[in-house]
């Protein structure tokens, strides 16, 4: 029973994720894309829950939906008047069958790999209290990475400011 729910939930979330993702790339209206992207993120966070990564699911919602998707929507709005002058769609875009071919082939290969690889499943116990373990790990083993990431965020912030501020002054 539990398993069934799990299965159903998985398929629902998977469907949401894939469908939304598909929408993101196929919709020509960017705002729609951005909203679908947010939906997709939600689907993904659902999958995280299924994978017993509650903390990640929360982070996903917070950062992706709360920040990134919003930024996208904002960005889309701000650049909406984008001039398409001089762009010739037929000339510019890569024929979609080529793109489809590449992506399709990639999926096929990956699926082949997934199917043929002998995974070394672990029979270990799943950690229950993920957030605290994560916190501990990040501040010990992964401290360098954490520091680097911090620096990265700082730099990105400075950079974003400098770039966005422009040359008006």
């Amino acid at each position: 029973m539990n398993e069934l729910i799990y299965t159903v939930a998985f398929y629902i979330f998977a469907a949401i994720t894939v469908a939304a993702a598909f929408g993101v790339v196929t919709k020509s209206n960017l705002v729609h894309s951005a909203l679908l992207l947010a939906l997709c993120f939600i689907g993904v966070s659902g999958l995280y829950v299924l994978l017993q990564a509650d903390f990640l699911a929360a982070v996903q919602i917070l950062i992706y939906n709360g920040a990134i998707a919003i930024v996208f929507v904002l960005g889309t709005m701000l650049t909406r008047r984008s001039s398409r002058h001089g762009t010739n769609d037929t000339e510019v875009n890569i024929p979609s069958r080529v793109v489809t071919l590449v992506s399709g082939l990639f999926v096929v290969v990956t699926l082949g790999v997934i199917a043929t690889t002998p995974w070394h499943y672990s029979s270990g116990v799943i950690v229950e209290d993920t957030p605290s373990l994560l916190a501990q790990l990040i501040l010990t083993d992964y401290m360098v990475v954490m520091e680097a990431a911090a620096v990265l965020l700082l730099a990105a912030m400075i950079g974003a400011i400098v770039l966005a501020k422009g040359v008006e002054e």
């Binding site: 082949g112 043929t116 360098v144 990475v145 990431a149 990265l152 730099a155 950079g159 422009g166």
Partner: protein, 471 residues
Amino acid sequence: MNIALLTSEIAVVILALLIIVFDLLMPRQEARRSLGYFAVCGLLGILVYTFNQHGASATVYHGFFVVDKFALFFKQLFIVATILTLLFSFDYIEGLTHNTGEFYALLLLSLVGMMVMASANDLLTVFVGLELMTIIFYILVGFDLRSSKSSEAGTKYLILGSAASAVLLYGMSWVYGFTGSIVLSEIAAHITASPAMLLGLGLMLAGFCFKMSIVPFHMWAPDVYEGAPIPVTAMLAMASKAAGVAVLLRVFLVAFADLQAYWLTIVSLLAGLSMIVGIIVAIWQTNTKRMLAYSSIAQAGYILSGLLAADAAGVKGMLFYAVLYMVANVGAFAVTTAVNNQYGSDKIDDLSGLSQKSPFLAVVMTVSLLSMAGLPPMAGFVGKMYIFMAITDKGYFWIAMLGLVMSMVSVYYYMLVVKVMYSKEAKNQQEFTASVSLRIVALISLIATLFIGIYPGPLAELANAAARSLW
């Protein structure tokens, strides 16, 4: 937990932060050159300090971060590259932007990224270090706010770089998934030639090749090099590429060594392709930076080919080559900067009559270019010999052959530049000025190129020690 091993990285971060602070404290109108000197002095201090770390080969944090001769070699390379780049670009940067302080700070932070990469001993550190460096470079590439080329270059780099990062990351996830670990040595222990492993390996190789601008993952490089401010281009060419090499070496030789049979052929093809494409396309370039970009693609091919030996000799060759390539590029970019300061553009034609206006810079340019082409007695020749001897030993003679032939073809377009400098008349009779620091950098590059070419012993020993510490 030996935090002392992180000292140099932390010091650079502090330096960067100090610069930001000072930048804020300084009056708006005051020139920021003092910040540049400050950065240079700081880096010099750190450079000296890194020599202190020699001998200590240790890992910290669950083996995620390793300080060995290999890492130190690259760190010193990055620091030197940064110092030299800063020195020759003071004038340029001041003409470029008002955000000089931020520029210096970001440059230093990207240096931190590279240093982290050099020491990274697990996939996550590799990834974060790489992103730290790359993302800052996205910003720096787009830093010339007046130039639409700069923002175009930044965007291209950002989009393609992020996509490549995604690919790299996806590859890492497969490797992690199959081996159950992200630490390189543990990966090596669990590795088998399973499809997932190879998929991950392939994706990671693609990702690294992108960073190193190996054909056919090189497409971004010419546009980005051309659009970016010169010091950034220089850093991209010298340091970012070297950082790519550093992680590539560590990952492939430590983690993936057992799968050599699978990746060697591909690497040989990629290296060969890079040499060919980089050189034949460079022939057509009219922009100095773009020409150097293609040339750097070819150089990346040469460096990569050293991987084919998959032993200490090959790695030694690569490290050696990375250094001399850096030295040569410093010279070339310094001259380009000087010319750009003069004329405001980077066309090869702008070099006209340089041999008359500034014979010294003309000589530096010539020697640098020829070093890249690999002509004796310049350093490039020795570097190529090291690499090619190592790979010939392992049966990749055809690559050596191809490399030598292509390097001579490359002389063709280097000669076109030389011709412009020596036989064309200058555009105007204006006095040619170049700052002292730029001249010093050019002189250093010249002397180093010739010295390494004629007496490669010391550097080779350093590189050798660094290479051996990988095993």
